[in-house]
Amino acid sequence: MSSLSMALRLTPYLARSNGSSFREAGLRDAGLPILAFGTVTALLLTVAGGSQVFWSWSDDIAGTYQALAVVAMVLLIIPLLTLGASAARLAARRRDDRLASLRLLGANSATVVWMTVIESTVLAAVGAVAGAGLYACVAPFLGLIQFRGQAIGSHAWLSVPSILGCVLAVCVLAAASAALGLRKVVVTPLGVRTRQTADGAHWVRGLIAAVVVVVGVVAMGMLSSFGAFIVIIAVMGGCFGLALLALNLMGPWILRLRASSQLKHAKRPEQLLAARTVLESPKESWRQVGGVAMTSFVGVFVGVGMAVADTMGTSGDAEATLLVRDINTGVMITLLGSFLMVACSAGVNQAAAVLDRASTLVALDRVGMPQKLMVAARVKAVMSPLFLVAGISAAAAAVLVLPLTGTVLLTQPVVFLTIGGVFAAGFLLVRLAVAAGTAQISQVLARPERYASMDS
């Protein structure tokens, strides 16, 4: 019997036999991945629905809006994929103990991989359908957003085939992430353990990123020599992509450097624990907060630029005034959307991390570690990289447009207040999501017998 057919036979059987614990463990086994996939789908549909509006126009200025929408989608798709991957890893991790038991019973590695993929995909499908329902509830509110002087209304509604396509995409993402996620664990008959590969972030990443930036700068410098408009747009798009690539290469390395410094200077237990959490996997930390980096940069850069344009050159042109206002609206929505995805990702990751290490947390509680310290360490491990990433990106943008920054500060201080407000709201959102994730600690410690072997 092939591995796939055995997996197809075993999966429903185990799902059925797991019925009582499925209900009992609820959140631990299936609820959290379903919630995560639901959030991913709802956000994906919202982003797709919002972007669709710009393709319903066909006048002269529609092309500008469409180009900007593509940029916004590129900015949002990375944190969205990150969130999707987090949800998929979470779904795969829930099955660790059962996978080991199956190996003990003689199932081979391929069967175990197939079972994980099948189970993750089923959870993703359930979550995605729920997410589509959530999108249906949110879409009317999305329609209230104004572009070109009027509410976008029913243009934000996606067609049924589009919705089904998004649901399918989430399922495929879940299946791929589950299969890739298993590469990080070894499932043997004696248990599941993480591979002892150091998840470092080498300085070579910084070097490669520097090379990528140089290539981008050179390409941008030669922009006028490319001639055709379409080529110029393509090169600009490519450079934008290169900037994102450089950022993703450098991000984990910068977080590792920062965490190493924090570890060196840590005086309190929560500082030590938070720094070690980041150092344990700088890439994981980056995946959680990296989405905010480019949006913070774009938020400040475009916000200031548009404010200057508004002041200097659009006073008599109604269409240009609308465009500037719409770009500002788009930037703020993208920034908030990005924070929302980071918040979801952080919440899901924290909840998963708490459940994964429940027995250790119970043991730490028993040796007298205060619960608020456990929470403080986890909050710091997320918020510290987030502040760093958003701060560096926003500061880099402000420095780049320094001459304009001063002008805007004097003439339109409300722009800075708006940008600051969006950042504050974003940080608050992430903080709340982390609080929701770490709330699992109270639940774990309230019922320690579930997580620690207690011989009564």
């Binding site: 005086k267 344990e280 570690m369 011989d455 009564s456």
Partner: protein, 264 residues
Amino acid sequence: MNAILHAQQLTKHYPGSIALDHVDFTANAGQSIAIIGPSGSGKTTLLHCLAGILRPDAGAITLNTPSSPLRLDTLGDAALSRLRREEFGFVFQQGMLLPELTALENVALALMLNGTDRNTSETRAAEWLAALGLAGMEQRRLGELSGGQVQRVAIARAQVTGARVVFADEPTGALDSATSNEVLDVLLHSVAANGRTLLVVTHDPNVAARCERVVELRDGRIVADSGRSVAAPNLPAQAGESAPDTPAAPGTQAAANFKGAFNV
């Protein structure tokens, strides 16, 4: 011999069963006590009640501290948590240490939680690790240590704070017999050399045989208590007074025995 921990008429119910049935128990300072019994006999529940992890449904638990006796069953959660941090040490079956921390940080963390500064904490932690045969392994993460070495780190963490009572729940349960003996040597000798009281829950008759006293539980009651008390070892400090926070006081017989046993 002074009583350090005294339980009177301890009763604890779980839905549909009674885990402890009016248990009276006294642990003397400096004693090593094995609590044995079949699964479900109540031995871990007794350990958890005595350690302030579980609250009994009825009965009293008193810890004799240098200042005054302390009733554990009347303390709030925060006070119990602090008590476990400062007065007690724990060794669990799987070590239950933090995998992202180094061996040194895992031990030092116990002191940092009590407010000791990081430098002092790490210095004392390094002394303990060296005394338990882990010199040179301070910066290793737990994944780079063997099962026996991880348990030594746990033993160091349990005692670095100067805990006066060490609770061990199946400390050798996950180890092979040779490593199990080695870890047991480390545990028993380090606890004795520092004048601490050891309460160890075990299924293993070899572990029980090496403790000074064996208490057997069955169906929530103590059905046998060897009560055999050997002479207290030469303590570096009078048990029940100021608890030491270094591996052993140099120059004492206990320290000599201790170092002889662990300098591997």
